[in-house]
Amino acid sequence: MSRRRAEALKLATEIAVPIAIVLVWEAWARSADSQFWPPPSTIAQEFRDLWLFAQFRSDVIPSLMRILFGFAIGSAIGVAVGLPLGLSLWARKFAMPHVEYWRAMPPPALLPISVILLHSIGNLQKITFIAFFCTFPVLLNTIDGVRALDPTLVDTARAYGVPVRERIRRIVLPAAFPQISAGMRTSLSLAVIVMVVAEYFSSTSGVGYVLLISKNTFQLVPMWAAIVLIGVIGYLLNLAYMMVEHRLLAWHRGWRAATPL
């Protein structure tokens, strides 16, 4: 078998297997006829009716806004706190126990506390909650990125009398950015998870809220449609972030390719 034919066969399998899975699911669900496992075609119909675009404005937009604001605020705090911690050994030693503790805390354990402390079940609580948990992956990666910085770069800049602020802006931040970006990608998928959990716990709108209501009212098909939508949001946000990262880090790949390691 020639190489090109093997490649074509692989591509065909890559396309055929997912289709086959959906077809088998469809056939199985139709024959089982269980109200818990509606066939994919029914879910797709419901998906279109619900999300494209009847409840898009009322529930999808709020959820997306919460994800994006929480992610942006959390990332900003992560970088702002991670920089000094990466640069100073003693600050790092002092702060690390807390970073490690809150990072290892399962997010839902803080849900009731966040409602009590913020007196809110609206956007204030949702965005704060998402931002809090988005901070840690960015924070830890910023610390690692700053610590992995080539000391020669910093020393050279210092020898040439580049002031501290310029050193951070022009050397430390760009050098640590690939690592920070990896942390941000983790944070973005975390934001989706935390959004679902937070809306499922207490809310008046959002995808998680629709999920909760359709469960409570025993409406299986809308519930499946909400699950699929959450999967699609997670998938698309990750894809979008990878595309942005690809552009932002284009200089980095070029530099890496030119530098023998």
Binding site: L11, T13, P106, I113, V192, Y235
Partner: protein, 277 residues
């Protein structure tokens, strides 16, 4: 060398050295940092910066945690959570490692299941809670399924990467020496993938704990999550804080344990050798 540095080096040579091992210094810093945070908490609550009914004092919360720790109900809930986490993680490892090896070894299988894996992986497992609630009910099976489902993906992906990342020269060398396929798998590919798998398991352990706890909180399967839910419903704010702290302690303990295991799995690796870093 500048004069200041010379003077410092000189003083280091002549001054009576305070012999304190870095381990003790680190432990002191950790203790100081924790004490500082606890004190800050007490002050914030007592000064009325945050109302005491919203944020109970640190001393009251720690006291509550102490009295909880003397009840059987707390430890039973604690063990339930640990059981859900351990079973979920164990099942995920048993399923994800062999499947990951299979998908990593065969280019064909890897390509065939690329799309399903890439699509299922980012789905937040918490979205499955209502479905499990309605199908499996508030049982241990629901909790374990959820934890296993969430923990499966990081291990699968890491195993696939690990198997694919094995140095091809090593494999080719073994092949040219006539090492049979099965021995190549057991002696080269799998040991080479172990550090990746260990990282996957460390990530999966955190995911499994989060999901076991989430299942308890939202579905009412017995455990710390259910206890937290009750404390919330009855307005027992102090207990709410105490349980959150206990959950965090469980989280940090599993994290420390699996980081240690990961480091052990990586011990032979050049990046972990002393002096390399």
């Amino acid at each position: 060398m500048t004069t200041a540095q010379e003077a410092k080096a000189e003083s280091l040579r002549t001054a009576p050295r305070v012999t304190m091992s870095p381990r003790i210094v680190n432990a002191l810093v950790v203790a100081g940092s924790v004490a500082f945070a606890l004190l800050l908490w007490e002050l914030v609550s007592r000064s009325g910066l945050v109302r005491e009914q919203d944020l109970p004092t640190m001393t009251a919360t720690v006291g509550e945690l102490g009295s909880l720790a003397r009840t059987g109900a707390f430890w039973s809930a604690f063990l339930h959570t640990v059981r859900g986490w351990a079973l979920g993680l164990g099942i995920a490892i048993l399923l994800a490692v062999p499947i990951g090896v299979g998908l990593g070894l065969s280019d064909f299988a890897g390509r065939a299941f690329r799309v399903p894996v890439e699509f299922l992986r980012p789905i937040p497992s918490a979205a499955l809670i209502p479905l499990l609630f309605l199908t499996l009910g508030t049982t241990l099976e629901s909790e374990v399924f959820l934890a296993a489902f969430g923990a499966f993906w990081p291990i699968l992906v890491q195993t696939m990467y690990g198997v694919r990342d094995v140095d091809p020269v090593t494999i080719d060398t073994a092949r040219s020496f006539g090492v049979p396929r099965r021995d190549r798998l057991w002696r080269i590919t799998l040991p080479g993938a172990v550090p990746y798998i260990a990282t996957g398991i460390r990530i999966a352990s955190a995911v499994a704990l989060i999901l076991a706890f989430t299942a308890e909180l939202f579905m009412g399967t017995p455990g710390l999550g259910m206890m937290l839910n009750y404390a919330q419903s009855y307005g027992l704010t102090t207990q709410l804080y105490a349980l959150a702290i206990a959950t965090g302690v469980l989280g940090i303990c599993t994290h420390i344990a699996f980081t240690a295991i990961e480091r052990r799995a990586l011990r032979w690796h050049p990046s972990q050798r002393l002096g390399a870093a």
